[in-house]
């Protein structure tokens, strides 16, 4: 019992440590990758390959004035960035990084992930509301509408995977992919989940709550210092989370040829999807708000339902 607790704490600490470092490291990764695709070099002066830019950036954020506008709703203003961080970190609790390396192997892991990623919408709406600023509120409203509507078919697109594996437990879903990774039978589901995931993390091209060119910075216009940093880090962790989920649900998680240990396979796959996120940012323009909503409700939702019905039908047909 004693030993179990200590390994347990070790896993929690390790996961937290690794995640926060990954999120900070992504600052550098994203800037270098964007530069790569824009024929630039990106940060390359401080330290080897410019890696110390992470240090410089976080030091800068820590020493910046942490200003709370006098017109803001102070308690809500302070708690909003904490919510995004907490909800994303909570969602990581159910992510199995490799066999045995999981904080909580819940039998409803997938539902827990969906619940926690929905919580993220609170941080946007509360942050935008508490800022007491027109742009922030507009951004927050857009963000909330976007996240709620994309959540609908984000959940529904996952149901195909749940039908095929017969479980909500992420470890069992990965194990069910031993023969065939789910992105082949569930290609449509994968594409829709990925699109919804981008909208969920409000990354470009779906960064409508932030939309620099229209809303200055959207819901976090009034945030400065480390509070802004937490929104920032929360976004990077969101990217990591969605990449982890895509890998777990559609790309066989830690499964892979035996030449590398399972955790390395998992990290490689996750990194590949993080790169796709950054590539999307480098290449695609932002759609208009009504286009985004139309795209979601008129195209993606019917497609998701179709995917669900066909998957269920085929499974029933095969089962008989």
């Amino acid at each position: 019992m004693e030993e179990a607790t200590s390994t347990y704490l070790l896993i929690i600490g390790g996961v937290l440590f690794a995640l926060l470092n990954v999120a900070a490291g992504l600052i550098w990764v994203e800037r270098r990758m964007l530069a790569l695709w824009q024929d630039r070099y990106g940060p390359n002066r401080a330290g080897p390959f410019g890696l110390f830019i992470v240090l410089a950036d976080s030091l800068k954020l820590f020493f910046k004035e942490d200003w709370i506008p006098p017109f803001a709703d102070k308690p809500v203003f302070i708690i909003a960035p904490a919510i995004v961080m907490a909800s994303v970190l909570m969602a990581f609790a159910v992510v199995p990084f490799a066999p045995g390396i999981v904080v909580a192997d819940l039998n409803i892991g997938l539902l827990f992930f969906l619940a926690m990623s929905s919580m993220g919408a609170y941080s946007i709406i509360l942050g935008g509301w508490a800022s007491n600023n027109k742009y922030s509120l507009l951004g927050a409203m857009r963000g909330a509408a976007q996240m709620i509507s994309y959540e609908v078919f984000m959940g529904l697109s996952l149901m195909g995977v749940v039908l095929m594996s017969g479980s909500f437990n992420l470890t069992e879903i990965v194990e069910a992919q031993r023969g065939l990774w789910f992105f082949i039978p569930q290609l449509l589901g994968f594409v829709i989940f990925f699109i919804a995931g981008i909208a969920e993390t409000h990354r470009l091209p779906f960064d409508i709550p932030e939309a620099e060119s229209e809303l200055s910075a959207g819901f976090h216009s009034e945030y400065s210092g480390m509070k802004f940093g937490i929104f920032f880090i929360g976004e990077y962790m969101g990217i990591t989370l969605i990449s982890c989920m895509v890998v777990l649900l559609y790309f066989g998680g830690w499964l892979g040829p035996d030449l590398l240990p399972p955790i390395v396979w998992f990290i490689l796959k996750v990194f590949a999807f993080i790169s796709v996120f950054i590539l999307l940012r480098a290449s695609l323009p932002r759609p208009r708000y009504d286009q985004l909503m139309e795209y979601g409700w008129k195209i993606l939702l019917p497609l998701t339902l179709l995917n669900l019905v066909v998957t269920g039908g085929v499974l029933l047909w095969l089962g008989e």
């Binding site: 790569l36 024929d39 999307l280 480098a282 695609l284």
Partner: protein, 171 residues
């Protein structure tokens, strides 16, 4: 949908393109010879100062960053007693170079003149004067000017005929 994927693919291919960035301190851009940068005062082929302290550059300067005081040496040759250019004001427009009748003031392709202290941006004559002719070689104002200075009388300049003797009736 296809166009989006095509965009992503084309963007991805940029990873293998040549970088546009010039890694500046290690690797410097080519600056054309007429590039308008740091201002210098040049000398004529004999090593004398070209500047005759006519004040035309100071008059032409739109931001009034040039200050000078004219004086003469014993032979009657004019030169500036002091010559200051305030580079924290200078806009590198090159009007001074255009105004200069003797090719003395010239802008050269050099822009690396950053300073930590603003006072250091005021360049004195010692800082401005170079031991060369700059962009215009072989030009010596006093050799072609019709003015009498030490060692050269009227009519002795290059391409100049001796003055007409107005007291004589001979052709």
């Amino acid at each position: 949908m296809f166009s989006l994927l095509r965009t992503m693919w084309l963007t991805f291919l940029h990873a293998f393109h040549k970088r546009d960035t010039v890694l500046y301190p290690e690797e410097k851009n080519y600056l054309p010879p007429r590039w308008r940068g740091r201002i210098v005062l040049t000398r004529d082929p004999d090593g004398g100062e070209r500047c005759v302290a006519c004040n035309l550059c100071a008059a032409a300067c739109p931001v009034d960053c040039i200050a000078l005081q004219a004086t003469e040496d014993p032979t009657g040759r004019r030169y500036p007693e002091f010559f200051q250019i305030n580079f924290s004001r200078c806009i590198f427009c090159g009007f001074c170079e255009e105004a200069c009748p003797t090719y003395a003031i010239q802008l050269i392709p050099d822009f690396e003149m950053g300073e930590y202290n603003r006072q250091n941006l005021v360049y004195e004559k010692d800082d401005l004067l170079i031991n060369g002719e700059g962009k215009y070689h072989g030009y010596n104002y006093y050799k072609v000017a019709g003015m009498a200075i030490g060692g050269k009388d009227k009519g002795e300049a290059e391409n100049e005929t001796p003055p007409v003797d107005i007291k004589s009736l001979l052709p």
